[in-house]
Symmetry: C2
Subunit: 496 residues, 2 copies
Amino acid sequence: MTTQHDLFDSVKEQTILTQIAALSGWDALTGMPKDAGHFRAEMDAYLAEKLFQVSTGSARKKILEDLEADDSSLDNLGHLVLQKARKDFDMTGNIPEQDFIAFQKTLSEAQDFWARAREANDYKVYQPYLERIISYLKQFIPLWQKNEKTPYDVLLNQYEPGLTVEKLDAVFDQVKNGITTLRHKLSANDSIPNDEFLSRKVTKAQQSKYAMAAAQRLGYNLNKGRLDDTIHPFMEALNRDDARITTRWDENNFQMAVLGILHEAGHGLFEQNVDSKYDDVRSVLPISMSIHESQSLFNEVMVGRSKEFWAVEYPKLQAIVAPTFDDINFDQFYQAWLKTEATLIRTEADPLTYPLHIIIRYEIEKAIFNDNVDISDLPALWNKKYKEYLGLEVPDDLTGILQDIHWAGGSFGYFPSYALGHLYAAQFRATMTKTLDFKAIFESGDYSPIFEWRKEHIWQYGGAVDPNKVLEDATGEPLNPQYWLDFVNGLYENVN
Amino acid sequence: MTTQHDLFDSVKEQTILTQIAALSGWDALTGMPKDAGHFRAEMDAYLAEKLFQVSTGSARKKILEDLEADDSSLDNLGHLVLQKARKDFDMTGNIPEQDFIAFQKTLSEAQDFWARAREANDYKVYQPYLERIISYLKQFIPLWQKNEKTPYDVLLNQYEPGLTVEKLDAVFDQVKNGITTLRHKLSANDSIPNDEFLSRKVTKAQQSKYAMAAAQRLGYNLNKGRLDDTIHPFMEALNRDDARITTRWDENNFQMAVLGILHEAGHGLFEQNVDSKYDDVRSVLPISMSIHESQSLFNEVMVGRSKEFWAVEYPKLQAIVAPTFDDINFDQFYQAWLKTEATLIRTEADPLTYPLHIIIRYEIEKAIFNDNVDISDLPALWNKKYKEYLGLEVPDDLTGILQDIHWAGGSFGYFPSYALGHLYAAQFRATMTKTLDFKAIFESGDYSPIFEWRKEHIWQYGGAVDPNKVLEDATGEPLNPQYWLDFVNGLYENVN
């Protein structure tokens, strides 16, 4: 008889393979020797094949079917794992094998041609591959569709269970209007803060010493993590006792690494504090992107841009880099730290304009899947929206539609999570401030009440609870973008 | 029909699993977060189980038997791979499964009790586990034995194909006598070189800059390797394009890291230069320990202790650490660099006395397996031999019989390879000097003739050719310890 034990054994193998793949991924991006890529590609292909076999092979299929027919051996966690393993299975299991393989091949070619298009600064080099990816997805969507209302809802749901176009349209309209109103207010005030001192030289050792100490004050545990150098910062969690972060350094822009380390440590904090009861089954309970991002952004924006944090932390930073900022008082520092400026590039955006970049991508993705817009029209659509929402002329494809790799990887429906992370973070913060006095906590030097709140209400559940339920249980209401608008209004009301 | 293709596919899977295990091993020793050990243990156990299945499972068994019955599909490499895969299979395949599992369990307990015995400085804590390991090995030896003359020959052969007690007795007698004669000569000369300056502070950055540049001059390629910090230095090769080295640092003893990096880079050089035709089958063609060690020791001793190398390198070192050694001339430097002193601890031994440490272990291992000496008598036997061969009183078990972990891991027969590495290195060097002028090569700044010789005669073969054949083909004669005795006599004739 097939029991929960069989299911958990199978998912544990998947979890171990995921951990191995994570180690390889971390290594490849932090320090693998330059010439070793071809050997690594073989190793990663082997792991991908094993993972595919375990999560969609005949043994898994039998376990799922047997337990769906007789679930008497399942406890609560067992039911959840069965449901999530079934979802995993259906993602690829419903697609004819030759189509799945052809799609994977197209994705890897597309990423190459995306890079070539960037070199040539020409969208047309990449367009045929983008068309093929979209065409495959349009073919798969009906196979995935359960009760989602529109094709794009199907894609949204793969990254954020329960998310719909209907909800997002309303949320993003409110966000768009709120940002536009605030930006008009700010642009009426033309005093520009002096932030020249942010480019003074701060050594890598000083930056690391300050930022890692601050990350640890927020609870990041170096017995369960480490910091590495990389080109594109990321957090990679092999398991809850091994959640590694990376950063890049610029000795003439210490703000980048400080905020980057706080951000990645936020991801790491989450992983380090998931309840141990999910250890063996974490591969089918991945933490949703939006809720993960809400915790990195909580560190980076809700804490790392806040006045009450820096009022206490700035002297600590000054002491480590002394005498570099001895002549900069706290008000000068904080005005510069918050300076906002619209940019063409999403990853360089400030906290205020960031959601506009996401909304543009969301609207284009919706147009592709729900309105069948022509793929050759995308650059013009992109440029029109950047002009309309951010007031910027897009000079070329490189700083425009070619800037993100996500579409080349088939990740349509993923971008909205980046914006949701901001909104969730603000809603969590608003709830916390009802019972926690942030100013007093930072002044006390013991930041653990904030840590404990986040652990109790968010982190412990890992990916076992859907993001909208985590949000509602923790804050008592569904997603309400007004919290984020209030937060950014408060942040910017005295600057610029 | 089973063909070479099936064999190579199976061995390639083994190779990929070996590569994954190597990455995990490297990570665990260089920077894995402290708390992550229990997750890693599960991952490593999973990999070990998969490796065991692939190399000794029923699928492999069928491939071996089919190809042994009909080898018409095999080319030369195919025959070699078949023979080595069979050897792998028989190592564990001939042992009853429950005994194999019990033996593995004993080994892991023994390593724990070895550590506890070291803490208690008491051999007796460890003795019962050592007895059990030896008893298992005595039970397995008849199952492994083919045409080896004595039980201990069986163990020697597992690490060094073709090695026998008969050969080693003769070789080690000659080495022992030669060292003893030279040590008497040296002790008659009582001028002790001043080596105080070797403890002057040299920063880690300076040590690394000098040693890595020197390693690269000898051919170590950083596009196919990297340097990490560790407690116990090692080289870990995932594949020929990823041969990583580690070192430990002491700012008041730069000699340790410089010689250590040259040593590990010697291992790395070998791995980086194995012919690519062995890429997929390297898991069944491991490079023999003695021949591997001959190349690390070639770097460390044949080059790293030689006068012609340092005559050219010392000014480079001086420049990097300036002004630290500006007052030390080359003769003062070189006298100190070569200083020899007998020590109780093998890993701290100088090049002259090192083989005596190995000979002591060899003689004890031989007594255990061929003469059935009582395990409780080993400490007394150990201490007697240290007195006799090195003139040292062993004050306790910690600095005596408990110093090495090898026996707790079941690695009897392994130690002799350490000594053979020294002898091979000297024999290779003697042959090279017939056609290569080391002094002129170092002075030219282009060390590639030495690199090319080693690649052509040694490295390219990897583990595909037995070590004694590599030695004979490269040097034109079987192992002759006189080359090593001549080398150390030459090294020490003008010092101490």
